[in-house]
């Protein structure tokens, strides 16, 4: 119960503190620092209005700086120092150590496969689901059912899919649906799907595709509905068949949205940790970068290599980061 009390106190202090901070900082600014009265009233109001925005954004900027911006720099610093040598600067020694680790290359290879397969499959399934569900009466129910895995945690999804992949000894009843189907179609011995090197990566990817398809579907469905009807009508009059309409008229028009969906899922993939951690923990050649990093940092306690691999993830994210910032700036102009 202590924790509950602490939680309650935190909510009260947090919310009260925030409101109090904003209220009183504005009050102090208006009444004491630059009072809107006396000989300099006009100038003071202008000055106060120059300062005020910073009062509003200060807590957020502090939190962002401390919890996201500072760690990027700090992690980089950790990646070029050695904890066992009293944090001495060691240049790229940690990186070269990491590059000699076969597990790192395995993780990088797997991550590349994830980066290709998961966004592609999720977007394709999402597009298919969006196109199909938009055309039927019970489409919204179908949508919310396909969307549902979004709410399920990666860990919960891991359990769900482990049951699907479960294998029982030969001759007994199979309780994992994949093996049940495999036997039913004439397979002889039940397979331990998650221990088959290389292919097991795909069995893990399916879990993320299953989760992300709903997201892609929701966004793409909105984009499809935003397509001007005239373009579709014109195509029909010109005698295009449904497939031509879809691939030659609709898809090109929603291309920007497809790119957004693709990059968003790419970022999710780069951070994927829980699924691998819970299902195989990187055994049987299923390691990925995020789990490799966790392994090095908190099991191997090798902060240097751990930070170096975190920097690799950052490096892979950077193009998307730059692209997003560039687009945001374009939009504001």
């Amino acid at each position: 119960m202590d924790a509950a009390l602490l939680g309650l106190v935190t909510i009260v202090v947090g919310v009260g503190g925030c409101v109090g901070y904003f209220y009183f900082s504005n009050l102090i600014l208006d009444k004491f620092i630059f009072p809107a009265s006396g000989p300099n009233a006009g100038r003071n109001i202008n000055r106060a209005n120059l300062v005020r925005p910073w009062l509003f954004v200060l807590p957020a900027v502090l939190a962002l700086g401390l919890y996201l911006a500072y760690p990027v720099v700090a992690t980089f610093w950790l990646s070029v120092t050695d904890r066992s040598q009293d944090d001495a600067f060691v240049g790229f020694a940690n990186y070269s150590k990491m590059f000699e680790d076969a597990k790192f290359w395995e993780a990088l290879r797997n991550n590349m496969m994830w980066l290709i397969v998961v966004p592609a499959a999720s977007t394709a399934f999402g597009l298919l689901a969006a196109q199909l569900t938009d055309r039927i009466r019970w489409g919204s129910i179908a949508k919310s059912l396909i969307f549902m895995p979004m709410a399920i945690s990666f860990v919960g999804a891991a359990v769900i899919w482990k049951l699907v992949y479960d294998a029982r000894p030969e001759g007994t009843e199979q309780i994992g649906v994949l093996n049940a189907l495999y036997i039913w179609f004439g397979g002889s011995d039940p397979q331990q799907w998650l221990t088959i090197p290389f292919w097991n990566n795909f069995f893990l990817m399916i879990v993320l595709v299953w989760i992300q398809t709903g997201f892609a579907m929701v966004i793409l469905s909105a984009a499809l509905r935003g397509i001007p009807e005239e373009t579709v009508e014109a195509a029909i009059i010109d005698g295009a068949n449904p497939f031509q309409i879809f691939f030659k008229i609709k898809v090109p028009q929603i291309m920007p949205t497809i790119v957004v969906v693709w990059t968003t899922i790419t970022i999710v993939v780069l951070k994927v940790f829980d699924i691998v951690f819970a299902m195989t923990n990187g055994q049987w050649e299923t390691q990925v970068l995020a789990n490799y990093m966790y392994d090095k940092m908190f099991r191997g306690l090798d902060w240097g290599v751990g930070s170096a691999s975190a920097m690799i993830i950052m490096l892979l994210v950077t193009p998307i980061l730059v692209w997003n910032v560039y687009n945001a700036r374009q939009e504001m102009k």
């Binding site: 996201l68 969307f147 995020a290």
Partner: protein, 379 residues
């Protein structure tokens, strides 16, 4: 599309069937977990969950005869019923070497002049020439068709069972303790910042917005070690305070981004009228912007709630210490996967408890979730 001539093609039933197939494919794994959480361990091991509503013939674990002994015709007799549910015994035996030695209605002769007779419905008669008081009674192996059976016992066991068995009750409570403050606090901080970024003109605003867009995608993996070090240095260490702060920090970029996008779209007239009427920025924010932004606030609240509730990594790093007192559900499930990988009744139940809350939130607030997603990604 439906109103366009010619688009109502004969394809429409193909579309319907495809969507049914797609939906079933997407639901199937989750339903499997749900159904499994209501089955007993024996049933889960005996047949796939998709067969759970049909009667199944299988070999049951041995059942030891037990019951009140009484005398009849000079024999000591025990009568009873092997199953609690309806069953149809096709074969039975009294040793593990020959579990199908007898058919229903047969009588097995045991050592020391004891006999057992088992009927097809599972009722049995045991006789002996001397009293069996204090002696071990024989076991009966059966192969029977049992009716489907569903139970709530797993939930009772996982949530309220002896401590140390799964700890899910405690973990549920801990997860709630982590989630609620970590959802509420960032909203407020973000709302003020979003207002300033949307409606106040100041130098560096564009830069700040660009920074937030950039921070949206920074992987939180980078934050783990530096922040843990920081928390240790300032004396927070591992605990609730640390995890609340971490989730607040990590949730802020999305919160500010979503709220700003929404607030920018609010009608300019209202805000300018209020300014002309002499309202301060603080008043405008509290009395006009906040109430009008409710949909965006709700969207973000759902995102943050789902994210914190489902999180494993941040809790592992910032919250759970070696005592394990502050464990959360996702972590407990991973533990169970390791230690009880075969006990599907425990695993399925624990997992379903953990995903049930997000599912309720999801279905109740789906409208806001979709709206938030659209605001957050479509540009």
């Amino acid at each position: 599309m439906d109103n366009i001539a010619g688009s109502k093609s004969s394809l429409s039933w193909v579309v319907n069937i495809s969507v049914v197939a797609l939906v079933l494919l997407w639901l199937f794994p989750t339903v499997g977990l749900f159904v499994s959480s209501f089955r007993t361990a024996d049933q889960i091991a005996g047949s796939g969950w998709w067969a759970s509503v049909s009667t199944q013939e299988r070999q049951n674990p041995a059942i030891r005869i037990a019951g009140e002994e009484f005398e009849r015709d000079g024999l000591y007799v025990i009568e009873g019923q092997l199953f609690e549910v309806e069953a149809d015994v096709s074969a039975w035996g009294t040793s593990s070497r020959a579990p199908e030695a007898f058919g229903p209605g047969d009588t097995a002769e045991l050592s020391k002049d004891r006999t057992v007779t088992v009927q097809a419905d599972g009722s049995y008669v045991f006789t002996a020439t001397e009293t069996q008081e204090g002696k071990r009674l024989p076991r009966v192996f059966t192969t029977a068709e049992t009716a489907p059976e569903f139970t709530l016992e797993n939930y009772d066991r996982v949530l309220f069972g002896a401590s140390g068995e799964s700890n899910m009750g405690k973990a549920f409570f801990n997860t709630l303790t982590v989630t609620i403050p970590a959802t509420i606090i960032p909203i407020l901080v973000a709302a003020f910042a979003a207002y300033a970024l949307a409606w106040m003109d100041f130098k560096g605003r564009a830069l700040l917005i660009a920074m937030i867009v950039g921070l949206l995608v920074v992987p939180l993996q980078l934050a783990l070690i530096p922040l843990l070090q920081l928390h240790n240095n300032i004396g927070i260490g591992k605990g609730y305070l640390g995890v609340w702060l971490a989730h607040t920090g990590f949730g802020l970029p999305l919160a500010i981004y979503l709220l700003r996008n929404y607030m920018v779209g609010l009608p300019k007239d209202i805000i300018e009228n209020a300014r002309v009427d002499g309202a301060t920025d603080f008043q405008i924010f509290v009395k006009i912007i906040l109430p009008l932004s409710f949909p965006a606030l709700a969207s973000f609240a759902i995102f943050q709630f789902l994210w914190v509730w489902n999180d494993l990594l941040v809790a592992l790093v910032f919250l759970i210490d070696s005592t394990g007192e502050t464990t959360v559900m996702t972590r407990q499930i991973v533990e169970l996967l390791g230690s009880r990988g075969g006990n599907w009744e425990i695993l399925a139940t624990a997992a379903f408890i953990s995903i049930s809350v997000p599912l309720v939130v999801f279905f109740a607030m789906q409208k806001y979730l979709v709206r938030g997603l659209l605001a957050g990604s479509v540009k």
